[in-house]
Subunit: 366 residues, 3 copies
């Protein structure tokens, strides 16, 4: 794969400088990138002066607007008005992906009632169940399983080992990373009599008597509904709903090792970072960002545009637009103050003792 | 699948009202459920007045005891004395599951020494190792692997991509959700000389000198022993033991993305919720409930009937029957007070400074 | 598998006592171990007096130095100067592992351009892509997939269901536990305009106006580079880098359900325990120990020999050699003091109110 500096700049909607006919074969960090040769070369990502120090004369680079390519001895450069956005365009241009071979691999086990879209590529040892529909240009890598009555939209990319259970419906451009599981059963049990958990929710922690109890399973009849342009990370699990489907809105991105419980509803354009977990029946608005390892309690509502900082644990409803942090999560400013006071806490305790003594002496004197 | 209202009420041991001959084909939320047609229809789950508002006249529903089906224009109804328990019966009745085809799929790779129980269904691309025994009516879905000398009981359901390593013994009615791993090696290493971790456990945080150290592996010879009626969630990992087996008691349910370390012993009828983690050699009693993301330190003991609230981190032994919360976990009431005080903490700090000034002035005056 | 007490003691570099010609067939806990029979027997792990209580006369055992084998009626014993180190040698001697059959299973799908090392064992239903190189004596268990252009070193053991994506390069003696995913795409997105996350990082929590925003994907061109003697746990995910590879240094061990983000660099001989997570572009030094469920923020640096206690959340840079604990993580001693003061916090709040009253009265009197 190779493209000229000029064409790449056009594709990135960015300005270029120098010899626009030089060929770009990929991207690299400045220290990895050698001077461009007769067949072209890597383009260095040097979008800040500190990264640019490692640039070699004779190479080609992406610089921030305002940096001087001549000063680094470059032969050509592209200026990035918003570096990470340029990174998006550039990496897309050079991503060869996992390369699923075109056509249907003979080792795949496909139910005759399944409908495979035009130009879809089905890798080795894939299993596709009855009445499944796979969209056009979908790429289904090795060892994927897709259960009965599920639908995968156009242009999907399912990486190796992905599990899509039965009755899962996904839109277009779905990306599922390796070993992700979509549509496992919800974790939902009930005891014939009141359980200990129900008791302490009622009594806030007190337990009258403890009796033996077995768990009876509530089965999951609902599936999972996934919008367009959704991505789900490696080894993440999204459970199916009980009566209706668990839902992930269009444009939402979910990282690795995330847990999405049964009946959860996630809005559009959310970012759910690594190891976050959303318990059963929680409702997440649009454009919500949950940073790494954020936990959301079951049955609560998180409003649109909420941002939750790393490792926050959200136990109660959060109104739209709020930025929260901490365990239990509170407004970010409040948490910052709490943390500052907590670091001072051993000193506060000391000062209080001292003050008590002083006042005692004052009282004795008085 | 279809059943009459009358038969369904009988199966649920619940009372019914209206035309008991109407056919139920499944369950849905009130808003999804249309009036019942000539072939029957979905039954609406409307077990509280707020859910019942969306009921359409002419439909059939499950109501709480005391609600009036005529007021909603229903044609038939079933009364749920304990709604979630009725949900359990109802969803079980209509769950078609992943539908593993009867018999052994020709693409499965089964060692000739393995014994497959009567009426067991083995899906495509399953791998079963030497001396494995699979119980009667077991359903093993696609892409499952079961290692040498392992035993799976009767009526098991193993979802796609499940890994059961060698020397794992499980009882009857086992359910393993997609991509769960049972019997990976324990995470157990030792250094020839004292390691930094051992040092700081001894010195409580001080380090004298730091030396290079390589980790030597302790292998895991123990397997995993699982009782009857156990369920394990998607992408969960249960490690094998070092010398003896890791053990999961009968009736215990484990959610998705949970980690169970080597040598752990879990009692009966426990509920281990999503993203909980139990470190090596911890011992968990019977009927223990660990809410989402609870962590249990290695080598400690959690007594019977303990309940740990969401995201608690348990560093030390918990006596039987206690309800704990927080990081580090303490009694729930104590944690509630700590949290209340923590929210007041910035104010406490302010009040203390002010009081110090006042006392200083008093002293100067005095 | 069977070895004499004498040979086993030699292999463990430990001293032995009693009848050195007795045969050891495996290891067990004292209560499991019966008197040694004519074919030999299990050796009991009784490396502390409290474990030794369960020893049966006539059996064989490993004891701590200084314990008296005659007092327990043993027929032979081995003395362990450092018990866990002896455990390492002993368990290695008796670990039969998952037993991948020699040779290449006929159901494996191997690209003709792949190079399989001498004596490597490739299990059933394995998929190996173009230009992959597998080292000598490697054991690749069932259902593993290895993507194009990846390299696995000599003596590797890949357990069932492991995913190795394209362009992953691993050294010798690699161990990957079941369903681990190496080389999924990084979680990296950008919005055309400033996103809410960028805004609150700038404003520390305040949001001026909220606008709709879609996420544009940054693709991951970098692979993963793994040194020698690395182990990765079950259902763990290690993401590939953006421009250059994510790197794991030689001798580092990673537990189950761990997340390693894109571009992360981990040094040598680290121990990353279960459910730990390291966010994108963080740099971890050599010999770092992250206990269970530790979180490391993106883009920060953790110095050599840092030890982070269980469930610590590290938001900022940690200098070499420091021992940290808590959320947010601070020096371990500081955290201990904070926790002590926190437990006293409700009392502190009370004492402060009382003191305020006293001083008010004093002022009134004055």
């Amino acid at each position: 794969m190779s493209v000229t500096i000029g064409d790449l700049a056009n594709a990135l909607q960015a300005e270029a400088w120098g010899d626009l006919s030089l060929c770009v074969t990929g991207a690299g960090e400045p220290a990895q990138v050698d001077p461009v040769g007769p067949q072209g070369g890597l383009i260095a990502m040097a979008m800040a002066p500190k990264y640019a120090e490692a640039l070699k004369p004779g190479s080609i680079a992406i610089l921030a607007v305002g940096m001087d390519p001549a000063a680094y001895g470059l032969r050509a450069a592209i200026f990035a008005p918003r570096p990470r956005l340029v990174m998006a365009g550039l990496t897309r241009a050079f991503d060869k992906g996992p390369q699923v071979q075109p056509g249907i691999h003979p080792s795949a086990v496909i139910d005759p009632s399944a409908v495979i879209g035009e130009n879809a590529a089905i890798g080795p040892l894939v299993v596709i169940g009855p009445n499944v529909r796979i969209g056009r240009n979908a790429r289904i890598a090795s060892h994927v399983s897709i259960g009965r009555d599920s639908v995968i939209g156009d242009d999907a990319l399912l990486h190796p080992g992905v599990r899509v259970a039965h009755e899962v419906r996904a839109g277009d451009r779905l990306i599922l990373q390796p070993n992700a599981s979509i549509g496992g059963d919800g974790f939902s049990f009930v005891t014939p009599e009141e359980s200990g958990i129900e008791e302490i929710r009622r009594t806030l922690g007190t337990r009258d008597g403890i009796t033996q109890q077995h768990w009876t399973r509530i089965h999951s009849l609902g599936g999972v509904e996934i919008g367009d342009d959704v991505e789900v990370g490696a080894n993440t699990s999204i459970d199916r709903g009980t009566i209706r489907a668990t839902r992930i809105g269009s444009g939402s991105k979910i990282d690795s090792l995330v847990q999405i419980g049964h009946n959860v509803i996630i809005g559009e354009d959310c970012l759910i970072c690594g190891m976050a977990g959303i318990a059963g029946s929680a409702r997440i608005g649009n454009r919500v960002v949950l940073a790494g390892r954020v936990g959301v309690n079951d049955n609560i509502e998180i409003g649109d545009d909420v941002i939750a900082g790393g490792a926050s644990k959200i136990f109660t409803r959060v109104p739209a637009g709020r930025v929260v942090l901490g365990n239990p999560a509170v407004k970010m400013e409040t948490q910052m103050e709490i943390q500052k006071a907590m670091r001072r806490l051993p000193r506060i305790a000391q000062q209080l003792s001292k003050l008590q003594e002083t006042v005692t002496r004052l009282l004795e004197k008085g």
